[in-house]
């Protein structure tokens, strides 16, 4: 366990130094999501906000409704970017070095995911909390469900990042990740339009993104004041996702280990 934590901390530190060597990082981490959020907010103004198909959207809380979507999405999206960065470890040859050292592979993957998760979302989180306080009359929430849900989302997001990272232990083609996970994730996990209104084909697509459940849960808790009992289905699904993610990560790490030992080669695809 001590070795695990040591590796974890080392990877977090490495990741931090890698990312934050220049202030420009804040532009891509904060300015881009913010611009995209503002654009969406104004494009909602073209509609009659009082007559949407979701009962809880009103003129006043539409900004909170959208902000929740964007905030939760930024958790998951920062991990897509970090996984993309992780693929550079292969290019620069550090992946081989990590594999030669007696470190716990899972700790490296987790450290990488956790570091980028917390570092990338901190600015967005501060902004969101500030906005939520500004619009606090629109919020209808209880403390306990908020805290529990936040913890679940954090765990789910970290594992999601670990899972994406683990894919790159195998493959060096990282382009596909963006094709699948950038815009489709935004459209199909209900960032702008809740998934409950989707036609069946789109619902099927939305099921695969953990982000779908995270957004749905956060909206219910913050806007409708749902209790833990009300969102028990979502929590249950999240726990299933968490266990699926953990087992797939373990399977991938084992496979990679075996494959590398057999062939001395880190690339499968």
């Amino acid at each position: 366990m001590r070795a695990f934590i040591k590796t974890l901390l080392a990877e977090i530190k490495k990741q931090h130094k890698n990312y934050f060597h220049s202030k420009i990082i804040y532009i891509s981490l904060f300015l881009w999501p913010l611009l995209s959020f503002i654009t969406t907010y104004y494009s909602f103004q073209t509609f009659d906000l009082m007559k949407s198909n979701v009962i809880y959207i009103t003129q006043g809380n539409v900004i909170i409704y959208l902000l929740i979507g964007y905030m939760v999405m930024s958790f998951f999206r920062s991990l897509v970017q970090s996984a993309w960065n992780f693929s550079f470890e292969r290019v620069s040859g550090t992946l081989e070095l990590i594999y030669l050292s007696p470190t716990n592979r899972a700790a490296v993957l987790l450290g990488n995911a956790v570091a980028s998760l917390f570092e990338s979302i901190i600015v967005m989180l501060v902004f969101s909390v500030f906005m939520l306080i500004l619009k606090k009359e629109e919020i209808n929430a209880n403390v306990i469900p908020c805290v529990v849900l936040f913890l679940i989302i954090m765990v789910m997001a970290s594992l999601w990042g670990m899972f994406l990272n683990s894919i790159f232990l195998f493959s060096r083609d990282s382009g596909f990740l963006f094709t699948i996970l950038e815009e489709p994730m935004e459209i199909f996990s209900g960032v702008k339009v809740p998934t409950e209104l989707f036609p069946v084909w789109a619902k099927v697509l939305s099921v695969i993104f953990p982000l779908t459940y995270a957004i749905e849960g956060t909206r219910r808790v913050l806007l409708l004041g749902s209790s833990l009992y009300d969102i028990r289905n979502l929590i249950f699904i999240s726990l299933i996702i968490i266990s699926i993610l953990i087992s797939s990560i373990m399977i991938i790490i084992n496979k990679v280990e075996k494959h590398t030992r057999m062939t001395g080669n880190l690339t499968l695809f």
């Binding site: 611009l35 007559k51 702008k192």
Partner: protein
Amino acid sequence: MDLQILIGILKKNLLTQYRAYPMSFFVGNILTGLYTVLGAWFMYKLLFEGRLSSDFFELTKTNDYMGYVIVGSLTYLFVVRTCLNVSRSLITELREGTLEALMLAPFKRVEYFLGNMLVQTMTTTMEIVISLFIAIPFGLNLSNINLSGFIVSFFIALYAFFGVSMILGCIMLYTRDTYISQNTLFAFLFLVSGITFPTKYLPEWLNICANFIPITEGVILIRNTALLGMGIEDLLYSYMKVFVLSTIYIIVGFGVMKRCEEAALEKING
């Protein structure tokens, strides 16, 4: 106008495009357009079932929201592609190591960039035509199009895109960064140029900003001719405005570009 240089650049770029860049680049761009349209369609059909706000018609003179968004996003696609190909041309030469050779050759800037622009207009037009077919099921209706007006608007808009891409090109060459500068500009243009909503919704100061970017008026021109069927005579004032604004951009762009080239050549090894 030195045609030899223009044709040389044209040949070189078409060959590079054909040989060095895979189809995935092409597909990726069409997908981006498709996702924007799909997102708008979800909002329009599923969330609001076509209930537009009362001032949308007053501001845009149309109730065809999907047409509005589709034409807007396709025009935006054109802007992005122009910036990617024209602004990045010199910095790509820098990265590929051909900038020095290019500077030694007696090439003229105007023909060089025009050549780049021509190639990019050809390839992007192909992408747009494919995207148009994809957009038809989402409710694109071009039956009102005023063809002569549209053609004039199209060329005026291209002129505007060229102007903006020159300025971006200067920034890129000077900072030697493409990732941050281009993506920040794209996100900003998507917000202020009235691509998916009328610019009147923006706060006053952003609205004023938008007025000084020729793309805003360019998108309106394309929409007015393609969707509302306005003719050349209705839009003379707008044409003038876009033309003057873009000319200023181009003059400033070419002037500054010369300085940036010097800076880039100096730093070439450092």
